[in-house]
């Protein structure tokens, strides 16, 4: 059989390009791959594109970063600046800072590339964050995508690590101050902190080794890990297929959208250049990290307005919010001859630890509470999962309070308020902000569900008032078309799952806890309108008035 198929020439290309592609295809099977990927269907929605933004930012980071490595010298040897920037002429500085200044002022296009790189880094982490918020609030982390959620979380941490190691490289005053804070956090770890710090810095801070070490991490290890995680992430996207928003004809067994080739691939490819263009415009017109303002690193000065880049801001903010004493109790303690700097240790590690632990575990937490082990490919609208949305908003607000605290000094100067008051308010919000956010979000979500239900049952208010023959005034409600109505009624609304006995007929304590949480999750619920309810709603009173409306909508 195989002899027969080789005997007859299946295809003879006529053009040069055809012969070339046939040559490649017959050896690596490109057309098969293309057929498979080209027919991969992606649902279209603007909120699905943040992952792409992150991916493109990463590509731009690799490109601009490679350019920067040509000119950057990660040495902490001392030198005297002799470049074009007059206010620093003759100043003693490290070779690393010197080469960063040279990139900025004496390498053609260097400042532009530095700014592209830095803006892309900020956009990279920001788009990851928005992408994760989208995934969380739409429930896209549910089976089968729990592992991909974890990979995404690891990517976020790696992106922050890449950002921080890069932020420190120019060895300017700002980044040195940031590094000093990290050094302080490391040293606050009881007993072993000092050893870790000396190991990392090769002696007492700042030493002469740290820039070179961070450089290796920044250009070698961290990007390699990011690349690996991106491959895993995309691989799983292909395996799982993309999720889709609920809509007519969409269910957990299909994907409604465009195939990758050719339109979607063209759009996605074009989008890369849009992202690149936006970043290039930002880099061309807006300065970022003006290292020449900060001067070379010197452990003694600390400038006002010293902050980390935005993604580390929440840790810095938590540090700013932490009081040194609680009542009469000194937060810094001396136990067994060791100093325990809880004033640094607690704010630096605990909030971030809680945020990331809950974030990583959330898919399993919800799965345990709901006992929902089914595959989900249709997303939830955030309002249709009120408790999850409320939990997400509570975490988001908690993060934002810490984030805002990192800019407390700028809030104080720009809004003409007292820095102390800003701190006191943010300390209070640190505790009550998430609670308020939870309650408000849950109520808003439930109210929106009620509104949806009302519209599904009675139609949209038209603002047209009609007087009936017997004198009654009614407002005409225009019924929705079936497609729109489907969106409002076709969602799952889980109910409280009471505690169940296990196979031995025993209701375990763990099961009781689960049932309690299930009640907390689902006891407030607005059920979607059922077909019977819809039938009843359309059958009553003002059907006669609605009839002409319906006739009209049918006619066009």
């Amino acid at each position: 059989m195989s002899a027969a198929s080789t005997a007859e020439p299946a295809f003879a290309a006529k053009t040069k390009a055809g012969r070339f592609t046939d040559f490649v295809d017959s050896r690596v099977g490109g057309s098969g791959i293309l057929r498979e990927f080209g027919r991969k269907v992606f649902p279209d929605h603007w909120s699905f594109m943040f992952g792409e933004v992150a991916l493109y930012s990463f590509v731009i980071l690799l490109l601009s970063g490679t350019f920067l490595t040509f000119f950057f010298d990660p040495s902490m040897a001392e030198t005297h600046y002799d470049g074009s920037y007059v206010p620093l002429k003759g100043v003693e500085m490290s070779v690393a800072y010197n080469s960063s200044l040279d990139i900025s002022f004496d390498v053609r296009g260097g400042l532009f590339m530095r700014q592209v790189h830095h803006w892309a880094a900020l956009l990279f982490v920001a788009s990851i964050a928005v992408h994760m918020l989208r995934v969380f609030f739409t429930g896209a982390f549910r089976r089968p995508r729990e592992m991909n959620w974890v990979v995404g979380g690891v990517l976020l941490i790696l992106a922050m690590a890449a950002g921080f190691t890069g932020y420190s490289l120019p060895d300017d005053l700002l980044s040195g101050n940031g590094l000093r804070i990290i050094d302080g956090v490391i040293k606050s770890i009881p007993v072993i902190g000092t050893y870790i710090s000396f190991f990392l810095f090769g002696g007492e801070f700042p030493g002469t080794a740290i820039i070179g070490r961070l450089y290796v991490l920044h250009i070698l290890l961290v990007p390699a890990l990011i690349l690996l995680m991106i491959v895993l992430h995309l691989f799983m996207v292909v395996i799982h297929k993309h999720t889709q928003y609920p809509g007519p004809g969409r269910n957990d067994n299909n994907v409604v959208g465009y195939p990758l080739g050719p339109v979607y691939a063209a759009k996605a490819g074009g989008f890369f250049f849009i992202v690149f263009g936006v970043l290039a415009l930002m880099a061309g017109f807006f300065t970022i990290n003006p290292i020449w303002n900060y001067g070379p690193y010197d452990p003694s000065p600390v400038s006002a307005g010293t902050q980390p880049d935005w993604y580390i801001g929440f840790v810095d903010g938590a540090l700013r919010l932490m009081p040194g004493t609680l009542g009469d109790w000194q937060v810094e303690q001396d136990w067994f001859g060791y100093v325990f700097s809880f004033n640094v240790l607690l704010p630096a590690l605990v909030p971030a630890g809680i945020l990331f632990t809950v974030m990583f575990m959330y898919p399993w937490i919800e799965r345990w509470i709901t006992k929902d082990d089914r595959e989900h490919h249709v997303l939830d609208r955030p309002r249709n999962a009120p408790t999850r949305t409320a939990i997400g908003m509570a975490g988001f607000v908690w993060y934002c309070v810490m984030w805002a605290a990192a800019g407390s000094d700028l809030i104080a100067t720009h809004f003409s308020v007292s820095l102390n008051d800003v701190t006191y308010w943010l300390r209070a919000l640190f505790f009550i902000g998430p609670i308020i956010a939870f309650i408000v979000t849950k109520r808003v979500a439930l109210a929106l569900q009620r509104k949806d239900r009302e519209i599904a049952l009675h139609g949209r208010e038209t603002g047209r008032i009609v007087r009936l023959p017997h004198g009654e005034f009614i407002e005409v409600h225009a019924p929705l078309d079936e497609y729109k109505r489907y969106k409002l009624v076709g969602f799952e609304s889980p109910e409280v799952l009471p505690a169940m006995p296990n196979e031995h007929g025993v209701v375990t304590r763990k099961e009781k806890r689960r049932a309690f949480l299930s009640k907390w999750f689902f006891e407030d619920r607005v059920a979607p309108a059922t077909p019977a309810e819809l039938e009843a709603a359309h059958g009553h009173g003002h059907a006669a008035v609605e009839a002409p409306e319906e006739a009209k909508s049918l006619s066009h």
Partner: protein, 262 residues
């Protein structure tokens, strides 16, 4: 010497010793501080200036600072603050103060140059203090790089490395230094207005102060080499910009790209 050793157990010996110690300390301190004083006193004020200044003072300042500038519950004594302090406070509009608050705010200047000079003459006549600096210290001809180093070590922790200003406690703040004249910068350093510490001549030499002014004026005229500076406020402004403008534009594009579908 014999008399001294015989009297050494006298009941008053301890008191005499204490008195001697105090006198020496006080004398040395007085000598040291006068050495530190900025003595760039070239402007000589006429008796007329002092008299006119006295009248202006009585009419505009005495309510808080007291007759004869001896101070009251509402304002400090101005004896010995020198002409530089008056020239700074009145010349930048901070005095007369508009209202009580965490600190006196800059506002449109209330007196013309002549009146400011007369007020300065009057206050300078009350006691020795830093004088208005000479032109030669304000010519911006110093070493900008050295000034930058001095600025980062002494000033940047409040005024920000790019002199964009910063927050202090309880509503007080260190102002941005763009558009502040070299004279006022110098006077602020020698008199320490509001919450600012005094940088005496032994702390930062007059030449050092000249370098700082040179640095500040240089970064002001250089501008921002990398494009709009976003207020020179550092990573907070940059983060805000990428979230609002950067992501905002990107989202607009995503909506555009996905708009022609169901």
């Amino acid at each position: 010497m014999k008399a001294l050793s015989q009297k050494r157990r006298h009941p008053l010996a301890a008191i005499a010793l204490l008195l001697m110690g105090l006198l020496i300390t006080g004398g040395l301190y007085a000598a040291a501080t006068t050495v530190n004083e900025a003595k760039a006193s070239t402007t000589s004020y006429s008796a007329d200036d002092v008299e006119e200044g006295g009248k202006l003072f009585a009419a505009n300042c005495a309510t808080c600072h007291g007759m004869g500038a001896s101070g009251s519950g509402a304002g400090p004594s101005l004896v010995g603050v020198g002409a530089a302090a008056v020239d700074f406070q009145v010349g930048t509009g901070r005095m007369p103060m508009q209202m009580n608050g965490p600190q006196a705010l800059e506002k449109p200047v209330q007196f013309n140059d002549e009146q400011t000079r007369q007020l300065a003459a009057y206050v300078a006549s009350l006691g020795a203090g830093p004088a208005v600096p000479e032109e030669s210290l304000l010519d911006e001809g110093g070493d900008a790089a050295a000034g930058g180093e001095l600025f980062r070590t002494n000033c940047a922790m409040c005024h920000n490395a790019a002199a964009a200003g910063g927050a202090l406690t309880r509503g007080k703040f260190a102002p941005a230094l763009a558009d502040v004249s070299g004279k006022h910068i110098y006077e602020a350093m020698v008199t320490g207005p509001q919450n600012m510490p005094v940088f005496s001549d032994s702390n930062i030499t007059p030449e050092g102060k000249r370098d700082i002014i040179t640095f500040l004026k240089q970064i002001e005229t250089t501008g921002s080499p990398g494009g709009a500076d976003l207020g020179s406020l550092g990573p907070v402004a940059e983060g805000l910009f990428v979230w609002v403008a950067g992501l905002g534009v990107i989202i607009a594009f995503t909506i555009w790209l996905t708009s022609r579908t169901s």
